[in-house]
């Protein structure tokens, strides 16, 4: 019954929006929006009850429980308001191949220009409440190139948050796929690495080379990007899923001193204590893979967020369907607060974009998600998603 009523309301809203749209040209300069919500998860502290968020020109102007609503502002009401979710590991919109696999080392390349802004992936992201996406190149070669951070909707020109967020290094067996030392010599698959040791060797050899190359001699774009990794000027996103791969990241870290962020981390439960000790954060994608790894049983795997929380490992949930992931994490042991942070403020901090997104606070981008109930209830639905205060997507 309630569903049906909601459907009708949604219909009315759709029809109304069409009607207003026809008239809207007259009132085009209207850019102040006031959202009243029963609960606002600002993610800066305890949730506000019965608060108001004022948005002007795509930015949050004010948040509070007792706020005067400016005259002439457009008004929205919703049960629960959250910051737009941040997916810290995504491949949305990548077109024409996700890595230049003809070479093992292409750290100077950037994934940003290959994004298809019209891709359906972004529509899906918006449907799921995700407003910011960290897009990583693939792992078909060892040093794949630079990642970028974009909004899931808006003008292509205004959607880029960070055009090069960090460098992606595949510390896993992915780059060995298809390679062989004994096939036809005219194939690119006759190349290193052919196994996991080869992957580590390539990383080590290239980083060593970057270390000993003096800044004055033979500086190339490629060498510069490797040196930025070493100096910590550029974050390193190490794609590692198996326990031993994460171990390798730790080993390389000891040798070169860089500060990695683990992407994937399915078997991070095997090395959690080291990760905690070394303060290495994890962008956890295990919830989306669906596979239960290792002989230890499911609980360790499903409750990685809970364990991270307990040991103080910074983690975020990534790889799509973020709200579902957060619910799942809570069900298996994480606290509600940690789960919600893991899809909002934590990825924002990890990606160094918390000045723009990740919380509901004055001055932040108006990236918001309106829900019809408590966010971690399985029956709660996303009613709309707002990106930069502009695009409201009615999800049903």
């Amino acid at each position: 019954m309630r569903r049906k009523a909601r459907w009708i309301v949604a219909c009315m809203i759709v029809a109304g929006s069409i009607a207003v749209r026809m008239l809207a040209t007259c009132a085009a300069d209207e850019h102040v929006v006031a959202i009243e919500a029963d609960v606002i998860y600002t993610m800066t502290g305890e949730p506000l009850t019965g608060g108001v968020v004022i948005i002007r020109d795509g930015r949050i102007e004010a948040v509070g429980e007792q706020l005067a609503i400016p005259l002439g502002s457009q008004r929205l009401r919703v049960a629960t308001l959250m910051p737009g979710f941040i997916d810290a590991s995504s491949a949305a919109g990548i077109a024409g191949g996700s890595a230049e696999q003809t070479s093992e080392v292409t750290p100077e390349m950037n994934i940003l220009p290959t994004l298809d802004w019209l891709s359906r992936d972004f529509l899906t992201a918006v449907d799921e409440g995700t407003t910011t996406l960290h897009i990583l190149p693939g792992t078909a070669n060892v040093f794949a190139g630079g990642s970028c951070i974009v909004k899931s909707a808006g003008n292509p020109g205004e959607r880029v948050l960070v055009d090069r967020a960090g460098s992606v290094v595949a510390v896993c067996s992915d780059p060995t796929a298809g390679n062989s030392s004994r096939s036809r010599p005219d194939s690119i698959y006759v190349r290193q690495p052919t196994n996991r040791m080869g992957v580590i060797w390539i990383i080590r050899a290239r980083l060593r080379e970057a270390q000993i190359t003096s800044p004055s001699s033979q500086r190339t774009v490629r060498m510069e990007s490797l040196q930025k990794l070493l100096s910590g000027d550029e974050p390193m996103f190490a794609v590692s899923r198996a326990g031993h791969d994460i171990q390798s990241v730790l080993t390389l870290r000891k040798e070169f001193g860089f500060q990695p962020i683990i992407v994937g981390g399915e078997e991070a439960y095997r090395v959690l204590e080291e990760l905690a000790r070394e303060e290495i954060p994890v962008i956890y994608q295990g919830m989306t893979s669906g596979a239960v790894r290792g002989p230890e049983g499911t609980s360790l795997f499903w409750n990685l967020p809970g364990q991270c929380e307990e040991l103080g490992v910074v983690f975020c949930l990534a790889g799509g369907r973020l709200l579902d992931q957060a619910r799942f994490a809570v069900r298996f042991g994480a606290s509600e607060r940690a789960a919600l942070e893991a899809i909002t403020i934590t990825p924002a901090q990890l990606l160094n974009i918390d000045n723009r997104v990740g919380t509901i606070a004055a001055g932040k981008d108006a990236d918001l998600v309106g829900l019809d109930g408590p966010p971690l209830e399985a029956t709660t639905q996303i009613e709309w998603t707002m990106v930069n205060g502009r695009h409201v997507i009615i999800n049903r």
């Binding site: 109304g16 207003v20 085009a28 230049e100 003809t102 290959t114 802004w117 891709s119 292509p156 502009r390």
Partner: protein, 882 residues
């Protein structure tokens, strides 16, 4: 508004759920207004009134396809989904929806006698070759292709299981109407039995013999099945006569006793329900059907029963039963013939099974056997006429005589393998006209004759009272592709309506004989025509004085002091040659696939063979200027050059710019770049001078020299003296191309992207030229809408295709979608020539320019017209007769 993701496009394109925020309810006051909007939206999109309300199309030229001929002005009245009245004086009932069709032509809905509507490729694939399939079972009524098809006036399509086997099964005639209305949707089941005498992997002579044997066996098995049943029934009949009261078996003729009823002797049953009925009754049939029927336990009284062993009751076989209906001629065989051997074997088969009705299709490559086939007087389904140049040439060459002599049996079909391909049916028919077919015959071949052959002439194919109201209103001649369909009605429902009201496009009266033209022009002469295409795209009367291969004067009237012979071509169009903005014609052994991805040292013209057949075909098709470009196998594909297709092809400029390929055609995993990522890297490097050194094994000085050559022209490119062509396919590639153009401020053109609308602003901002390509079989109509939108917004458009005919087809489709005729004509002749790298002073019909022109017997954008005289440097060009 700010919706960037393209809401408001066709629904098939993107299911956006975006709405602008400003649209959100501000306060409760708007509820009433919203309710009204909801109501109006509920009412608008459904044409529900069509069921009750009559439609009257008035003041149009009605091409009835009956004895009435064309009625002008005439009215067609549609009531209850049927045509109620046709004529010049028709009383229009009160309350009828009246549509004024002044200047427009009303024809029956067009019928494509061989296509794929509703039948996806996956559903039409392989078969067991045993006639078991029914195309009906593969139809996907949720497909949206019919919308694409009705927009071009096609309302009925014959589909059959794919011709990949000797005999796949039966086809069905479907309507291009919403699939949720079954009554309107299916016009006829079992409209033909697909068969082929030489298809599949084995195309050798032996393979064809095997195919023939298999097909023949299907026929003989069916014959035997029929005979067995006849014998059995005969026996049963005699038996029942001799012992009337005690019956175990029902005689076959007794009313509802369908279960035991064998195949009808002469094909009495209609529309194939028998076959399926038998399938559903299988269990029962078996129960009634012990393997060896013992003779009835009756005292053998009659002497007849003693002397012959009683026949056993044959097994029911639904497939064979279907074939029995083929034997009797009830279901025609659609026989695919593509070789002389096959044609001869078909005639043998026909002799053996005289009652079978044959409809010949395929019909390319039959060689001299074409004449034998024509002698047999089977209906011929000819096609394709465009799209597949080789097949089209074959059809024309082999069946030209049929245009005149077999007019009553000629059917034109699109032979497409995509449901959307039927929308080209008119183009196919127009090309048949260009090839010499009478326009009347061509139009009949896609309406009334097609209906005849498909067995649906009692329902559709002509405009007569009582027929189903499948009608099209064209804003011009039905066979002029540049005249769009204004309105399409299927079974009384308006299923398509062009949003704009197109000005009727004048029907050009085509004279059969051109003005008396000499075989060769004299040294000096005057060419006079009432229709000369001027550089602006306008058409006006002019007299061109031509002296020694050059145009020396261009006057509105004949100069009084004229001393040269005057050739008046009347209303034939005199136009500059067409300009092909991009072609790889004449490129021989120029596959760059094997070298490195940086091919900037290579010039397309070095691989160009000016005497190549395709080049001569371009010229005799009316193309006189062309940009010759390298192919698309590597990213930095090489240098493009411009040529004038004179008798001795002359190079205008061997290096006008670079071609950059961003599509997947230039990505190979063996070689950098294997991804778009790498292509971007390489292209940027090209403009920043950082391209990777050659990986070829070259001595160092050679290596250095090669890199120098590669880099030599970069400054000229950045200085906009050269232009850059970006070949793109997907949206992402288009974005990348525009990014690069913007960043390096290039004079550039993009080619190949189908989705243009989202990029119009950026194309304008970067002053980028769009090079349009013909749409593919699987493209949607919105491609041309996008082109029209871009042209409207002021994006310069140049045109390119694989052949002259396809170029004109592209222009015609674009004009039908709303591109301005003059703009299109100018763009395809002189307007873009300067930009592409030709000398503007030497292009076009003005004094000082070389006497390069084409005399057309209609507009070049009308596919029915032909270039009747191509002249280069004042000399007539011999036409390549295919």
């Amino acid at each position: 508004m700010d919706c960037q993701l393209g809401s408001g496009r066709a629904p098939a394109r993107r299911a956006d759920k975006q709405f602008d925020f400003s649209a959100f309810p501000a306060h409760a006051l708007g509820y009433l207004a919203r309710l009204l909007v909801v109501l109006s939206f509920c009412l608008l999109p459904r044409f529900s009134w069509a069921d009750e309300q009559a439609i009257a199309l008035i003041n149009g030229r009605v091409v009835t396809m009956t004895d009435q001929g064309a009625i002008e002005p005439g009215t067609v009245l549609v009531v209850d989904g049927k045509i109620a009245a046709v004529g010049s004086e028709v009383a229009i009932p009160a309350g009828a929806k009246v549509i004024d069709c002044t200047g427009w032509t009303i024809t029956p809905g067009l019928i494509d006698a061989r296509s794929r509507l509703w039948l996806e490729n996956a559903s039409a694939g392989q078969s067991g070759g045993d006639a078991a399939l029914d195309a009906y079972d593969g139809l996907d009524r949720f497909q949206d292709d019919w919308r694409e098809v009705v927009r071009h006036g096609v309302t009925a399509v014959y589909v059959q299981p794919a011709g990949g086997d000797v005999c796949a099964g039966v086809g069905v005639v479907v309507a291009a109407a919403p699939g949720n209305n079954p009554a309107a949707w299916i016009l006829r089941r079992d409209a033909g039995m697909q068969a082929a005498l030489g298809v599949g992997a084995d195309l050798s002579g032996r393979g064809r013999v095997r195919q023939f044997d298999r097909l023949k066996k299907l026929f003989s098995d069916a014959k035997k099945y029929q005979d067995d049943w006849a014998a059995y029934r005969e026996y049963e009949k005699k038996k029942s006569e001799s012992a009337p009261p005690a019956q175990t078996e029902t005689p076959p003729d007794a009313g509802e006793g369908r279960r035991d009823e064998g195949p009808p002797p002469g094909g009495g049953r209609r529309s194939g329900r028998g076959g399926r009925g038998a399938i559903s009754n299988e269990g029962g049939t078996e129960a009634n059907n012990p393997p060896a029927q013992p003779p009835p336990q009756e005292p053998a009284e009659s002497p007849a029963a003693e002397e012959a062993k009683p026949p056993t009751k044959p097994d029911h076989d639904p497939v064979k039963e279907r074939f029995v209906r083929v034997l009797s001629g009830e279901v025609p065989v659609r026989i695919d013939v593509r070789h002389g051997d096959e044609a001869r074997r078909l005639l043998l088969l026909a002799k053996e099974f005289p009652a079978v009705r044959w409809i010949c299709e395929g019909l390319v490559g039959t060689g001299t056997a074409a004449d034998d086939l024509r002698g047999a007087r089977y209906p011929l389904v000819l096609g394709p006429w465009i799209g597949n140049d080789q097949a089209a040439r074959d059809v024309v060459q082999l069946w030209r005589q049929s245009f005149r002599e077999d007019t009553g049996r000629l059917v034109i079909a699109s032979y497409t393998s995509s449901g959307r391909g039927s929308r080209w049916l008119r183009a196919h028919a127009a090309c048949a006209v260009a090839a010499g077919c009478d326009p009347e015959t061509a139009l009949r071949a896609i309406t009334v004759h097609a209906a005849d052959v498909l067995g649906v002439a009692d329902q559709v194919g002509s405009i007569a009272p009582g027929k189903r109201a499948d009608l099209v209103v064209f804003a011009g001649d039905p066979l002029d592709i540049s005249a769009p369909a204004q309105l399409t009605i299927v079974a009384g429902d308006i299923v398509y309506e062009l949003p704009r009201r197109n000005a009727p496009i004048a029907v050009v009266v085509r004279k059969d004989q051109a003005a008396d033209l000499p075989d060769e022009w004299p040294e000096q002469f005057v060419l006079s025509s009432s229709r000369v295409l001027l550089p602006s795209g306008q058409i006006a009367p002019r007299c061109l004085t031509i002296e020694k291969g050059r145009i020396t004067r261009c006057d509105e009237t004949l100069a009084e002091d004229n001393q040269w012979p005057v050739f008046d071509v009347g209303s034939h169009l005199v136009a500059p040659g067409l300009t092909m903005a991009h072609t790889t014609a004449g490129m021989v052994n120029a596959d760059y696939g094997a070298v490195e991805s940086d091919g900037r040292q290579l010039a397309a013209l070095d691989g160009f063979n000016s005497t190549h057949r395709n080049v001569r075909r371009l010229r005799s098709g009316g193309v006189l200027l062309a940009v010759i470009a390298p192919d698309d196998r590597i990213t930095l594909a090489g240098r493009m050059g411009t040529v004038r297709l004179a008798m001795e092809v002359s190079v205008v400029n061997s290096d006008v710019g670079d071609k950059v390929v961003l599509t997947s055609a230039a990505r190979r995993s063996e070689q950098f770049p294997a991804s778009l990522l790498g292509q971007i890297e390489l292209t940027h490097a090209m403009f920043t001078g950082n391209t990777p050194a050659s990986r070829m094994y070259l001595p160092e000085p050679v290596q250095a020299a090669l890199m120098a050559v590669r880099q030599a022209e970069t400054q000229n490119t950045l200085g906009q003296q050269r232009w850059v062509l970006f070949e793109v396919g997907t949206d992402a590639e288009m974005q990348v191309a525009l990014d690069i153009i913007q960043q390096h401020q290039l004079r550039a053109a993009v080619m190949g992207c189908r989705n243009i609308e989202p990029f119009i602003d950026r194309l304008l901002a970067t002053k980028t030229t769009l090079i349009a390509r013909p749409s593919g079989e699987t493209d949607f109509n919105w491609y041309f809408d996008d082109l029209a939108g871009a042209a409207d917004a002021g994006v310069p458009i140049l045109w390119s295709a694989d052949s002259a005919q396809q170029l004109r087809w592209l222009l015609a489709e674009a004009i039908a979608a709303g591109v301005d005729v003059e703009k299109a004509l100018a763009g395809a002749t002189t307007a873009g020539a300067g930009w592409l790298g030709f000398d503007p002073h030497r292009v076009g019909l003005h004094p000082g320019a070389p006497a390069d022109f084409v005399i057309w017997d209609g507009l070049p954008t009308d596919l029915r017209s032909r270039p009747i005289r191509v002249t280069v440097d004042g000399r007539a060009v011999e036409t390549v007769e295919d």
